[in-house]
């Protein structure tokens, strides 16, 4: 069918390397989300898959065919653009029928197909209108209809929801997900919104600086990030990071930072060499998600510096003596006010350590 394979794909614009040596295999029917901050190379990668950009080096395979130098129109793709790219001079009907007319379908067949597709995305009543008169959600669905009307094997979507308001975006997210379940086609979806990536993807590809940082199922990316960038990119509010010194073993980590010492039987720093089994301390960053910081009766002391009620839960900012506040997620009804003293602990199984310099995840040290 139509899986996609990228083989050491590279794109250089002038002196800037937008995408460097990206290799990736997307199985047929998978919903893959490329996510990363702007300028990370995700849209350039998508455009190369579409054929709108020519790779500087590397290859693209769709199905079994090497399509690197094929024209976009020969690749059997559907693409939804950030601006939706509805043709302003055509009616909704003509927009949806455009790809069919290019394929020289007879007028009756075009009309029948357009009406059928328009009905499935609920824009049947808008066929006579111009795109300028549509609401954001309607325009979005017309763009989808125009893409699915030719039943492509691969769907490419470049931040299609970014122009919608928050509520509509969540609705459309579900709608696109449902579409994927119905069509069973391969979806490649680009976004800078980590929530979109988490909720929609079968597999997330995190990009940064023109390269893939990590790929995997959403929960793996969230719970088991490969480096500090991935850890910090996902989650709202983002993960707490504390710079300090790490020693001990992976099972019994010992971590010292200003205002915080973690790990039982932490030997004084100078004594590390006495125990031959204990490696010397190294600079590292501790990462812990706000939901894994627990307010308790025992543990490290802290002062509540800020409370952010979210409705279903409350974010508690804790001053524990370190350079920055620590954020904890707690119950909405927590009986605390700013200035209160309290204690906190960490969920030990969820502690992550990163190399302070490279940001790589430390799994053993």
């Amino acid at each position: 069918m139509a899986g996609i394979r990228l083989d050491r794909l590279t794109k250089v614009f002038g002196s800037t390397r937008a995408v460097g040596q990206v290799s990736l295999a997307i199985p047929d029917g998978e919903f893959v989300v490329f996510v990363g901050p702007s300028g990370c190379g995700k849209t350039t990668t998508l455009n190369m898959i579409a054929g709108l950009e020519t790779p500087t080096s590397g290859d693209i395979y769709i199905g079994d065919a090497r399509v690197t130098d094929w024209e976009p129109r020969d690749r059997n793709l559907g693409m939804v653009f950030q601006s939706l790219a509805l043709f302003p001079h055509m009616t909704v009907f003509e927009n949806i029928g455009f790809p069919l007319r290019i394929r020289r379908l007879p007028a009756e067949a075009v009309a029948a197909r357009v009406q059928a597709v328009a009905a499935t995305v609920r824009v049947g009543h808008l066929l006579g209108q111009r795109p300028a008169t549509l609401s954001g959600g309607e325009a979005q669905r017309v763009a989808l209809a125009r893409t699915i009307v030719v039943e492509p094997a691969v769907f490419l979507m470049d931040e299609p929801l970014s122009s919608l308001d928050a509520k509509l975006r969540v609705d459309m997210r579900t709608e696109i997900k449902r579409l994927h379940a119905t069509l069973k086609a391969t979806f490649v979806y680009v976004t800078h919104d980590q929530a979109e990536a988490m909720t929609m993807a079968d597999r997330i590809v995190v990009m940064h600086g023109g390269g893939i940082q990590q790929e995997g199922p959403p929960l793996t990316i969230y719970g088991n990030p490969a480096n500090r960038f991935v850890a910090g990119f996902f989650g709202v509010p983002s993960m707490n990071f504390i710079d300090g010194e790490l020693s001990g073993h992976a099972e019994t980590p010992v971590f010292r930072a200003p205002g915080l010492t973690l790990g039982r039987d932490a030997p004084p720093q100078g004594d590390a060499s006495r125990d031959p089994g204990t490696p010397p301390a190294r600079r590292a960053t501790l990462g812990i998600r706000p939901e894994h910081v627990r307010l308790s009766s025992a543990g490290w002391p802290a002062i509540v510096s800020l409370l952010e009620p979210m409705g279903d839960e409350t974010l508690v900012f804790l001053d524990y003596g370190g350079p920055a506040s620590l954020v904890a997620k707690s119950d909405a009804e927590i009986p605390l006010t700013v200035g209160d003293r309290c204690h906190f602990t960490f969920n030990q199984e969820r502690l992550l350590f990163f190399d302070e310099r490279t940001g790589e995840r430390l799994r053993r040290w």
């Binding site: 579409a50 054929g51 709108l52 024209e71 976009p72 129109r73 690749r75 793709l77 559907g78 693409m79 653009f81 950030q82 601006s83 790219a85 043709f87 302003p88 001079h89 455009f98 790809p99 290019i102 394929r103 125009r146 030719v150 490419l156």
Partner: protein
Amino acid sequence: MRRRWALTLARHAALLAWAAVTLLPIYWMLITSFKHSGEWVTWPPRWFPHEPTLINYVKVLTPGTSTFELGRQTLKILKPLWDSLAVASASSLLAVALGSALAYSWVRFGTGGPRYPYNLLSIRMVPPIVIAVPFVVYYVTLRLLDTYTGLVLVYVATSLPYVIWMMLAFIEEVPVELERAARVMGASRFRVLRSVVLPLVTSGLVVTFLFVFILNWSELLLALALTNTEVTTLPITLNKFQSANEGRDYGPQAAIGTIATLPVVVLGFLIQKHLVKGFSFGMIRK
């Protein structure tokens, strides 16, 4: 409420006064073209001809070539009218076709490098007389002097910078994502141009055409330098009313002037819809 009404009134009065100032010469030309010779110069001025006549039009529009009798020239403008129409239409169409293709290619592919449109503009930075003389020299060698081809070519060359600069603005208004969407949907490059780009820049093309048509329609200097008897345009014909005698032949002169104005006005009305759209949307640079 009353103040706003007064303000509107004042504004309309001012605009009307200014319109009177600018339109008066045109009105004068129009009525003079319908006057008998006795009414051309009178005091007090006749604001409306007592006996409107078409004699001036008949005089200049009868077939035949201009004659010279009793020291007085009788100008026939059927041929100049035709020549002007042919040369201005052909050169403007050609310039718009070539120039918009060039503008598209520059906007989308950077053809010619980033400074190309500015370099082209330099053609218009020199006074036309500077290029007129070299053109004469070349045209003598190329046997293009006093030919339609010759005049059309030089008009295309001088119109191109205008066309390119106007079309740049219109083409930049077409989002590249529209073209990309069409290409992914299966359209060839030419199909993209035909079905997406052209319909979206139609107003721009029409406005640009009108603009260069007016320029070429009224161009005098180059025509004077490059043509003689085979090709003769309306501006050249009008220019002949300069000697002591013909200079006072106001009736036919006004008739020719009116005829020369007519095509531009008619064109303007025909494409009014595009004019409004073109001037309000295309010319706004981001």
